[in-house]
Symmetry: C2
Subunit: 194 residues, 2 copies
């Protein structure tokens, strides 16, 4: 197959996948998770049902792919937050603040999804990437003397990500701000004052 063809086919596949995920996302927003059906997605996208089933065996797999894409977007946003901030400590704070803000804004939306996607292998992979990303930030901040070194970085990462997940249970942005502040307090080197 000439290269131009395989590229065209690849682009077409991507377009079908993206259209499917967009349609699923719109349906979830409109009707909730239980309102998403293969027929409705086929109808909304104009993709034939038979074709749709070649890409995704069921609604579950579409929601998984959609969730994965959402996590990807969030990770991209966090990377951008990092890249427009200077200084290891400042980067860590900016990224953790942005992360808590994301969890706050999507609160209530993902509970059902997490339940439906309980096999969750793709979620585990996405979390792994998030962990590695925060790991690096914490490592840099520790090297700059802004983070305690008496606890391994990997453990501090888990601490941060779990503590900030409380943002999903909070009701106002000020509380999220206090949560980030509280969480960061525990990261300071033991010999630093408050």
């Amino acid at each position: 197959m000439p290269r131009i063809w395989s590229q065209t086919i690849e682009a077409h596949r991507d377009a079908v996948r993206e259209a499917t995920l967009d349609a699923a996302a719109a349906l979830v927003a409109e009707r909730g998770l239980t309102g998403v059906t293969m027929s409705q997605i086929a109808k909304d996208t104009g993709i034939g049902r038979a074709t749709l089933y070649k890409y995704f065996p069921d609604v579950e797999s579409i929601l998984s792919a959609w969730h994965d894409r959402q996590i990807d977007h969030h990770l991209q946003e966090l990377l951008q937050t990092r890249d427009r901030t200077t200084g290891a400590a400042e980067r860590l704070e900016a990224v953790l603040t942005a992360y808590a803000g994301m969890l706050f804004h999507r609160r209530g939306h993902d509970g059902d999804l997490a339940g439906r996607l309980h096999s969750g292998r793709h979620v585990a992979a996405a979390h792994r990437r998030l962990r590695d990303f925060v790991d690096d930030l914490l490592g840099d901040a520790a090297a700059a003397g802004a983070v305690r070194e008496d606890v391994p970085t990997g453990e501090l990462t888990l601490y941060c990500l779990h503590a900030l997940a409380a943002a999903g249970d909070l009701d106002d942005p000020e509380a999220v701000h206090r949560l980030v502040r509280t969480t960061l307090t525990a990261l300071r080197p033991p010999d630093t004052g408050p």
Copy 2:
């Protein structure tokens, strides 16, 4: 109905329920969550299938009740930990340490269950009790000057419970100890040194 009869019936119902939950727990331990069936529970308990269905409509409801009972046991343990410790700050530390220990020891066991029980109304109620309990401990410790007062107690409770949930992702008890220490650091009043 004479009182003695209603008491006897009540006791009988409790016994059927307890036996059902015990059988379900044993089956989960032996075969995993997917190995639990109504027929097997009926067989293991000697309760007739028709009777069993009068108590629980399906396996899901049995696992929910079992999970609820487990959370109850954990709460009882935490209450005991509190009651055998003196001093508000010490109580808080002892209870949070015990809580992290529980999450560490049951790690990997509840992931599937949490997924299967995603309706989770009973889980929400149990969490509410846990939150109220930790709220009180934090309030007492704050009144004793051992906990920061610039963040509302309810928010600190959420912070603690989420942060300590990281224990479920840790691999050794020393790391759990460090997690508790890290989490507690953030609770100190701002004017206290490390």
